[in-house]
Amino acid sequence: MNSEIINLKISITITFVCTIVMVIFGYENTLLGYNADEFHVWQLITAHFVHYDVKHLITNMLALSLLLYLFPATFKFHLKAMVIAIILIDIYLYFSNVKYYVGYSGLLYVVPGMACYKLFQQKKYNHVVLMISILIFYLAIISPEYRQNQFLIWESLEQAHFLGFFSGILSEFTNRKLQLNSRSNLAFLQ
């Protein structure tokens, strides 16, 4: 199937899941978001699909669609990267002093992370440097500035974004290793 159609399907599925969660359970469902004071195991998964408000949901979903258009990924690899990101972000949430966390954007960053590793493999180092520079510039300068100028009750968790990006790289790295292993096994059998 055409990669663009697959990406469209991924984007629509995730948007649908997040919207359904919002419609059924409401925005600020303290039982679904990661809540350190009232912790439940399911929050480790549901927190990533709950949003503070409609604006929060729309911006995340729009960014996901644009990222998937810019950096196409196969469904299988995207799902794997998402699982790694969920695990890493949850470990961070559990051991940090974060009281409450909701939002998809941590998982959003797996897409550029995967693309970054692919570009690295293709030896397009200029693209990799540009991508990492934009990421650092955004997360270190633009994002905190944006937070200061907005009337938000919460702050953006940059660590989750970095972990999402790192998960994308890690996922692509393991995919590459597995592909190489399977190729060498195939060569050995032949």
């Binding site: 925005y27 600020e28 350190a36 990533h48 949003h51 503070y52 408000d53 929060h56 911006t59 995340n60 729009l62 960014a63 644009l66 990222l67 258009y69 810019l70 002093n97 974060v98 009281k99 409450y100 966390y101 909701v102 939002g103 998809y104 954007s105 941590g106 998982l107 959003l108 934009i134 955004y138 633009i142 994002s143 944006y146 100028n149 907005q150 009337f151 938000l152 009750i153 919460w154 702050e155 953006s156 968790l157 989750a160 974004h161």
Partner: protein, 277 residues
């Protein structure tokens, strides 16, 4: 002798009704200023600027009615506070709203009491509801029938009017200042009842008027909350109210800047692909 007895009975039982038009006024007031400064003295401390830790924990209470006769039923008060709670509840910067029982404020007054309540419930701000209700009663010609005693239960000879004003002030206890306020009023036209049912009718009407004023106040509260939200959103450096985010409340989001950047990149890619095809 019997006639004299009848005459005395008529005079005594009909009370003042026979001395012409009867006017009466009842007032029930709970004053915010009186509650906050019971001795009328102002504190000597320096005024601090309010600092709000978002999301807020809000306490909601009625200023207790200190008169011996409580007009508004406590059940109604509680229901109305729950309605106000719903108006606050939809706001993202409000984390929790606690309805404070009236008896907690019954015995003592002043900011000291509010501070105790604030610490007890771990609140940031307290919204206090005060009210002023006035009932003006006036007899008409039919009130002459009250002379017959039976007439007092049959003929509607007393007209009355109820005016109610409810005010809600949201107070930052730490800085001892009002953040914003919302008010609601209601006024009923002359209602006419028989003297025998007057007190029942008054109470019923008073409660109904109270409910109406509270409804109007709730509408105004939504407007005031939106204004307050806008004011905080503007982040004016000269604004005396400062906002802080409560530590640990985090989320994953993308800014408008990143969205624009991604959109430009996507547009560029689309154009490139379109040209190549």
């Amino acid at each position: 002798m019997a006639r004299l007895f009848l005459l005395i009975s008529v005079f005594t039982l009909s009370s003042c009704a026979i001395f012409g038009e009867y006017r009466h006024r009842h007032t029930h007031t709970t004053s915010l200023v009186q509650f906050l400064y019971p001795q009328g003295k102002l504190p000597l401390e320096d005024k601090r600027n309010p600092i709000l830790n978002l999301p807020l924990r809000v306490g909601l209470a009625f200023i207790p009615d200190r008169s011996s006769k409580q007009v508004i039923s406590p059940v109604l008060k509680n229901t109305l506070l729950e309605n106000v709670k719903a108006s606050f509840g939809s706001k993202g910067y409000v984390n929790e709203i606690v309805v404070i029982p009236e008896m907690y404020l019954q015995t003592s007054q002043g900011f000291g009491t509010l501070e105790q309540i604030k610490n007890l419930y771990q609140l940031d701000v307290i919204a206090l509801v005060s009210y002023d209700q006035m009932v003006n009663a006036k007899d008409n010609l039919l009130s002459l029938s009250y002379l017959t005693i039976v007439g007092a239960y049959i003929f509607p000879g007393t007209g009355y009017q109820v005016n109610t004003m409810i005010d809600m002030a949201v107070i930052d206890v730490d800085s001892r200042s009002i953040l914003f306020r919302a008010a609601g009023t209601s006024s009923s036209k002359n209602q006419i009842v028989a003297e025998g049912y007057r007190s029942q009718a008054y109470r019923k009407r008073q409660n109904a008027e109270f409910e109406l004023a509270m409804g109007q106040m709730q509408g105004n509260l939504i407007v005031e909350l939106t204004k307050f939200e806008q004011r905080l959103g503007e982040k004016d450096p000269n604004d005396r109210i400062k906002v802080k985010h409560r530590k640990g409340y985090t989320g994953g989001s993308v800014s408008l800047f990143l969205l624009c950047l991604l959109f430009c990149m996507a547009l560029f890619k689309f154009k490139y692909e379109f040209r190549n095809n």
